[in-house]
C-alpha cells in the first residue's frame, strides 16, 4: 500500500492513512469466524456474588459461551495464590461498581449484547466507600505511603518564614476518554499459539503479561497494534478485560473481539486519581523561597495499589534549602487508577504552581519575576548540574508572545463591561527519560530504508519522528523511509509512556543509521569506491540487494553526571464573565524547552494537544460519582466535558530547540507530558488575576466563579 503522499518532509507519515480511514485500528480486523464478547458488570460496589444465573443467556440465539467465575476459564497463572492484579473470573469478590462479572460470547455483537442483559446476579452486599475526600478525612481509613518521605534542610521551614502561605488543592477524578474505545481481539489457536490485535501503548508489555497469565512462551504470542486511537496512559497496561478476552478465545476456540462501551471506559480501564494536596511556601521579603512543603493524598483502589510522581516537582524546581514532601495513597472502592497524561506531575504541578502564584501575590511580585528569582542553577535534590535548561529564555519568549506587559499585578484590574481579563503563567517539568531499545535497519539497493522496532504510536507521530531522524543522518528523503512499529515480533522497545519514545527508540535509530553508514563506507573502500559514494551504487557494485543491521541502544554514565529534564512554560489569557461565571480562554502560548525538535509538526501537535487537555483539566473535566451508590453519574460524552473547538482559542507554540548536549545523540528530549503539566495552574492563575478569586478545586466551572462573589 502506498504509505504516504508527502508534500512536506515534516508531514505525518501516516497522516493520509488516518484522514482517509485506511489506518486500521484493533477493532477493525475481521478474522474468519470472529465472535463477539460483551461484558456483564456488577451493579453493587462491594461484596460477593452469591448467585449468577447464566442459563437464559446461554440459551439465547447465537450464544457460544458465558464465562464467569463459575466456569473459571483456564488461565494457569491465575491458579497460583497471591499477587495483587485482579484475577478476572477467578474471584466472586466485588471491588467496585461496574466490575466485569461475566462475558457473553456470541456470533454477533447484537446477540451478545442482548444475551448479556439476560445474565442475572445476586449479591451479598458490604459497606463501601467511594468518596476519596471522606477517606482522606477519616482518621480510621487505611493510608499507605506512596513514596518515601523527602526532606532537605529543615522540615516545614515555611511555617517560620517572613511571608508564608499554606493552602489546600483539590483534583477530581479525570477519565482518559480517548476517542477509541478500549478492547482487544484475541485469536487462540491449537498448540497454544495466540495472535492479538490490541489497543496498547506497549506490544511487548502486552505480550509479556499474557505470557505470564497463560503460562505460554512469549514466542507463541503475536501482538499487533499498528494504530492506536489515543491512549493518554490508559493503554499502558493489559487490563483484566483483555485477559478475559484471551480466556474466552481459548475457551471457545474461536477468535473473540471485545470492545467496551463508553460507560465502561469510566470504571474498568483506569482514571487520573483524585488528589488532595497541601502546599506550604515560605519566603523572605525579598522574594527568595525559604521553605517548600508538599503533602499529597492520592486515590488508589483496595485491590491493587497505584502511585505516581505527584510530589516530585517540589524537590528540584525552585531554589530552596528547605524542602519536604510526603505522598500518601488512600484506597477507595473504585477501579484502580492509571497514569493519565502528565501523570502525577500534572496533579502536583496544579498545586505547586498555583501556590507559587499565591506566594508571588502575597509578596506583591510579578509571578514571572518571582519564578526567575527562584530559578535553580543546579538540581538541589540530586546535587547535579542540569544537562540543559533554558527556562529564562522560554519565559522571555512566552511573555512577549502573550503580551505579559499588558498584565496588571493587581487582580481585577482589566475590566471591559462584564468581562474581566487576566493573565497566568505556570511551568511544567518532566524527567527526560531514555530507556533501552533495539531497532533493525534494512538498507536496500532500490534506495529505500526500512526501520523496525516493537514500539508504539498512540498518536504523537512516532513513525514520523523516527523517519526524520534517519532521513537527516542517511540523507535519504523521508518518503523513501518506512518505519514499522506496533508488532511484537520486531526488535524490542519499551512501552510508549513517560515521554521516552523519541529519546529511547530515536537513539537506536540513530545508532543503526550510523552503523549502516559505516558498513557502506567499508564496502565502498573494499570495492575501490569513493568514500562518499551513494549507498545504492555501493550495494549494486557489491551485488547486495540490501544490508541489515540490528542495534540496541541505551543511556550510559551521563545520566549519573547530569540531571535531565524537559521543561515547558504555559501562558494563558482568560476572560471571565462576572455575571455568568463563564471562563473563556482567550489565548494560549506554550513554550517547550526539550532539546532539539526532531519533528516540528508533530512536536507542535503534542503541545497543542497538551494545551487542549490542560484546558479540559482546568475548566471542564470531572468524573462524578454518587457515593451513596458508588456509581458514575456523567459517564458519557454528553456529560463528561472534554473541551470542544469552541472552547479553544489560538494556541501559539514555541520551542527553544537547542540540543541537550548529554541526553542522546539527537539532543532531543521528550515532550508529550510537559505539554500538559502545569497547564491547569496557568488557567487558575489567570482566573485569579482576572477576578481576584483563587479557585483551588478543579475544574473551574462557572458555579465556582460565582460562589464567592
Amino acid at each position: 500500500m502506498e504509505k504516504r503522499m508527502l508534500k512536506d518532509e515534516n508531514d505525518r507519515v501516516d497522516g493520509v492513512f488516518k484522514v482517509t480511514g485506511q489506518a486500521k485500528y484493533f477493532a477493525e480486523y475481521e478474522l474468519p469466524g470472529l465472535t463477539y464478547g460483551v461484558l456483564v458488570t456488577s451493579t453493587i460496589t462491594k461484596g460477593k456474588i452469591t448467585t449468577l444465573d447464566t442459563k437464559a443467556a446461554e440459551k439465547a440465539p447465537g450464544v457460544i459461551s458465558v464465562l464467569s467465575h463459575l466456569n473459571k476459564p483456564s488461565a494457569p497463572g491465575y491458579e497460583q495464590d497471591g499477587g495483587s492484579p485482579m484475577k478476572i473470573f477467578y474471584t466472586d469478590k466485588i471491588f467496585y461498581n461496574g466490575q466485569p462479572i461475566a462475558m457473553v460470547v456470541a456470533n454477533t455483537f447484537e446477540r451478545a449484547t442482548y444475551a448479556a442483559s439476560l445474565v442475572k446476579a445476586t449479591y451479598a452486599k458490604e459497606e463501601f466507600n467511594t468518596n476519596f475526600d471522606k477517606a482522606v478525612a477519616d482518621s480510621k481509613s487505611k493510608k499507605l505511603q506512596g513514596q518515601p518521605d523527602y526532606k532537605r534542610g529543615v522540615e516545614n521551614a515555611y511555617k517560620t518564614a517572613e511571608v508564608k502561605i499554606e493552602e489546600k488543592y483539590h483534583l477530581p477524578i479525570e477519565t482518559h476518554n480517548p476517542m477509541e474505545l478500549h478492547g482487544i481481539i484475541a485469536d487462540w489457536r491449537p498448540n497454544n499459539q495466540l495472535t492479538v490485535y490490541a489497543k496498547t501503548q506497549g506490544v511487548k508489555a502486552t505480550q509479556g503479561t499474557i505470557a505470564n497469565v497463560f503460562k505460554i512462551p512469549i514466542e507463541n504470542i503475536q501482538v499487533n497494534s499498528e494504530f492506536v486511537g489515543g491512549g493518554f496512559g490508559m493503554a499502558l497496561r493489559t487490563w483484566p478485560v483483555e485477559i478475559a478476552t484471551v480466556m474466552a478465545s481459548k475457551h471457545v476456540a474461536k477468535p473473540v473481539k471485545l470492545v467496551i462501551t463508553r460507560m465502561q471506559m469510566f470504571t474498568m480501564v483506569g482514571n487520573r486519581p483524585a488528589a488532595i494536596q497541601t502546599i506550604g511556601l515560605g519566603a523572605n521579603k525579598d522574594g527568595k523561597l525559604t521553605g517548600i512543603t508538599h503533602r499529597a493524598f492520592g486515590e488508589t483502589s483496595v485491590y491493587e495499589n497505584f502511585t505516581e510522581g505527584v510530589v516530585n516537582m517540589a524537590k528540584f524546581m525552585y531554589q530552596c534549602e528547605n524542602v519536604n514532601t510526603q505522598y500518601t495513597v488512600v484506597p477507595v472502592d473504585l477501579g484502580v487508577p492509571i497514569w493519565m497524561r502528565g501523570p502525577g506531575e500534572a496533579t502536583g504541578a496544579f498545586a505547586l504552581e498555583s501556590a507559587i502564584d499565591e506566594m508571588a501575590h502575597a509578596l506583591n511580585m510579578d509571578p514571572l519575576e518571582f519564578r526567575i528569582k527562584n530559578d535553580p542553577e543546579r538540581d538541589q535534590q540530586r546535587n547535579l548540574p542540569f544537562s540543559d535548561k533554558n527556562i529564562k529564555e522560554a519565559y522571555r519568549i512566552g511573555a512577549q508572545k502573550i503580551g505579559w506587559n499588558e498584565r496588571k499585578n493587581k487582580p481585577g484590574s482589566l475590566i471591559d463591561g462584564q468581562l474581566k481579563t487576566g493573565y497566568g503563567v505556570s511551568i511544567g517539568v518532566f524527567n527526560a527519560n531514555r530507556g533501552r531499545a533495539s531497532v533493525k535497519g534494512i538498507l536496500k539497493a532500490d534506495g529505500s530504508l526500512v526501520l523496525q522496532s516493537a514500539t508504539s504510536d498512540i498518536g504523537p507521530g512516532t513513525g514520523t519522528g523516527m523517519t526524520l531522524i534517519a532521513s537527516k543522518l542517511m540523507k535519504i528523503p523521508a518518503d523513501k523511509i518506512t518505519f514499522e512499529l506496533g508488532d511484537s515480533s520486531l526488535p524490542p522497545a519499551p512501552s510508549q509512556g513517560g515521554s521516552a519514545t523519541l529519546s529511547t527508540v530515536g537513539s537506536a535509530v540513530n545508532d543503526v543509521c550510523v552503523a549502516l553508514k559505516s558498513t557502506i563506507a567499508e564496502l565502498a573502500a573494499n570495492s575501490n569506491m569513493d568514500a562518499t559514494a551513494n549507498f545504492v551504487d555501493v550495494l549494486k557494485k557489491n551485488n547486495l540487494p540490501s544490508i541489515e543491521i540490528i542495534k540496541q541502544s541505551q543511556a550510559g554514565k551521563e545520566r549519573e553526571a547530569y540531571s535531565m529534564y524537559s521543561f515547558s512554560i504555559h501562558f494563558v489569557k482568560v476572560n471571565v464573565h462576572s455575571l455568568t461565571g463563564v471562563v473563556k480562554v482567550d489565548k494560549i502560548v506554550s513554550v517547550g524547552d526539550s532539546g532539539t525538535i526532531v519533528s516540528p509538526k508533530t512536536a507542535r501537535s503534542q503541545m497543542v494537544g497538551g494545551a487542549v487537555g490542560g484546558v479540559g483539566m482546568a475548566l471542564t473535566e470531572e468524573s462524578i460519582i454518587d457515593h451513596r451508590y458508588g456509581r458514575y453519574i456523567n459517564n458519557n460524552f454528553a456529560d463528561y466535558h472534554v473541551p470542544v473547538n469552541a472552547d479553544i482559542p489560538e494556541i501559539e507554540v514555541h520551542f527553544i530547540n537547542k540540543p541537550d548536549p548529554y541526553i542522546n545523540p539527537m539532543g532531543a528530549k521528550g515532550m508529550g507530558e510537559i505539554a500538559l503539566i502545569g497547564f491547569s495552574a496557568a488557567v487558575a492563575n489567570a482566573v485569579f488575576n482576572a477576578t481576584g478569586k483563587r479557585i483551588r478545586s478543579l475544574p473551574i466551572t462557572p458555579d465556582k466563579i460565582l460562589a464567592d462573589s
Partner: protein
Amino acid sequence: MINFQYLRTTTSKSALALLSKDKAAKFLAGGTNLIDLMKRGVTTPEKLIDINHVPLKQIELKGDTIIIGALASNTAVAEHALIKEKLPLLANALNAGASAQLRNVATVGGNMMQRTRCGYFYDTEMPCNKRQPGSGCGAIGGFNRMHAILGTSEKCIAVHPSDMCVALIALDATVVLANQKGERKILFKDFHRLAGDTPQLDNNLKTDEMIIRLEIPINNLAKNSHYLKVRDRASYAFALVSVAAALEISDHKITDVRLAMGGVAHKPWRLTASENFLKGKEASTANFEQAAKLAMTDAKGFGENDFKLQMAPNSIIESLTLAKSKA
C-alpha cells in the same frame, strides 16, 4: 437492547393508525434521543414507527403566522431565511443546542419530546420516579447540579433540557396535535407539564396523538432579542441556565417583552411576573435587576444547584441587556 419491530410510514394518517393499534409503539424521528434511551434500557418500545418520510417539514409564512412542520430538522429551521429574519430568537436558541450533526437529524417534534438528561433517569440501576414511579428520586440528596430550582416537586426535580422550547414558549407558539379523529390546538406553554405527583409525564400529548406542526405569530421583537445559554463548555453542553429575552422598545419604554428560562424547571419557564413588571417601563439596568429578582421569588436550591439561584437572575439581567443593546 431488546428486539423491536421497525415500521415506516409516509403519511400522518397511517402513522396515527399504526399508533392506535399499539399504544406501546413509538414514533421514530431523528432518533437522537429515542435510540439513546433504548440503548440504555430506559425505554423499551416493541414497535418503532419511522415518521421521517411523513411530509411535515414545511417552514412557511401564512398571513401573520409562521408554520413549522413537526418533522422539520433543527438545522432547517435555524437556517431558514424566514426564521432568521422574523424569529431570530428561535434560530439562536436552536443553534445553541446540541451539535451541528445532531441538529441536522433532530426534528422539531422530537426536540419538544426529548426527555430529561438527569443521570439517574438514564441509569436503570438507580432510583428515579420519572423512569419508575415510586422508586424515589436519586437527584434529591444526590448529584443535582443540573437540576431545577423552580416549580419543583418532592417527586422529581429534573429539568427539560431543550433550548428550542425556551424560545418557543417566549414566542407564544401554538402546537397542533392530531389523533385519528382529527386535530386539536394547544398553547405551547400548556404543552409541557410540571412534575407534581406524576413525574413520569413530561407533557400533555396523549398516547394516541402526534405532533403535527407549530404555529407562531409574527411579532415586533426580532430586533432586540437574545438567547443566552450558560454552560460548562462553549458548545455541545446542556444549559446550566438559559434565558430567552426579547424586547420591543419605543420612546425608551418597553412596549412588549418576552422572557423565558431553560435549565431551571421541569418545563420551559416563562417569566410572566417579570414581563408584567417590565411592560411600560424604561429598559434600564435597575429595572432589569428588579425583573430578575421577581423571577426568583419562589426559587429553591437542592444543594449542588444552589448556584443557579444567583446564576439565573444574573443571566436574566445579562440577556435583557444584550437584547436591548442590539442595534
